[in-house]
Point group: C2
Chain length 210, copies 2
């Protein structure tokens, strides 16, 4: 059976969802599949390869959420959908979301394999495209689309990270409201006119004040 590989992968994803990275072991996986541990090594070289495959599945699901945004009819709608779907994925599948950003060391690797890096790169490219087409349409200030999309990406991930770590004292409904309000702030700007006036008077640039 060649689909034994798929069965193992499916059980590996479930095991990761139940136990997290800490509680994931080849013995537990084998028990869950219904075989003994050595049998797994016929299908996957080692534990790290299994975990990398689990990361791949997380990216596959993430991609389904993200590319659904392309159904929007205008650049602004597509950007809005991308942000909404990003939020929905992270809140609906927090363990998979965590897996997107797992450190190589946590997987027992020095560097992430090319397969995963390409997934991550494609995600960055997706955000870049959303930023660029909005900028081309005159909806965003002129500037570097790459950098603007980084700002949006960092803002969204930063909020989600802090919330999922339990560092923000609010429930999910409260977080959703705050996420939306914070996104509006990002687009409107935090500063009051007086801030720029004060800076101009001091003749200094607003340096790294985030």
């Amino acid at each position: 059976m060649s689909d034994m590989r798929d069965r193992i992968l499916a059980r590996a994803c479930d095991l990761y969802l139940e136990e997290g990275l800490q509680g994931f072991s080849m013995r537990k996986l084998a028990r869950s599949v219904g075989v003994t541990a050595p049998a797994l090594y016929r299908h996957y070289e080692n534990k790290e390869r299994v975990l990398v495959a689990v990361v791949g599945e997380a990216y596959k699901l993430f991609g389904q959420f993200l590319y659904r945004s392309l159904a929007g009819h205008t650049p602004l709608e597509r950007l809005h959908l991308a942000a909404t779907n990003y939020l929905e994925f992270a809140l609906g599948h927090p363990r998979q979301y965590e897996m997107l950003y797992v450190s190589p060391a946590a997987l027992g690797l020095d560097r992430l394999p090319q397969e995963v890096e390409e997934h991550a790169c494609a995600t960055g490219q997706f955000w870049h495209d959303r930023g660029r087409e909005c900028m081309d349409a005159g909806l965003l200030r002129e500037g570097s689309p790459e950098e603007v999309s980084m700002t949006m990406w960092a803002h969204a991930h930063g909020l989600l990270f802090l919330y999922l770590r339990g560092l923000l004292e609010m429930d999910e409904a409260g977080f959703r409201r705050m996420f939306e309000a914070s996104s509006i702030r990002l687009f409107e700007g935090l500063a009051a006119p007086r801030l720029f006036k004060e800076l101009a008077e001091r003749g200094e640039a607003l340096a790294s004040a985030g």
Copy 2:
């Protein structure tokens, strides 16, 4: 010797810096201190308590960076210094920075101990204070100081997280420039006037578009 506890803690910090969380063990720590493993248990109840103490040291160092910002003479200057010192701490001490945001599960705990939660809470309060005094001075738009400081915190942490994970293809100098530019974008706002015009025409709110 009561300072044996301190010696162990100092070596534990070094061991964590060298090996990370994955490679940290009581046996290695004992070897590093120059005693046998059981001796450690006279000074620390178990491995988790040692790691919690290491997190505490990271917060202590972080606090030194952050509270240095209070030397600024105006609210804006203190906010600016806080952001700069936050960046300097994260780039100068990436492993300790990572430790500030370590998940309880990675430490083998269900929840972080009160000691660490208080540290994290104090950090949130610090950012809140910086936001509030700038808002009181009319430098930031009216709103909730707590939420505005969350936006700034999330933006800064999001950028640093992506950079430290190696997901942004740039060197440290490039990142510093981007961090500053992104912070300015955050204060000025991403949107061009046309975006608000388009939204008003559609009669819909700009929802969660970050």
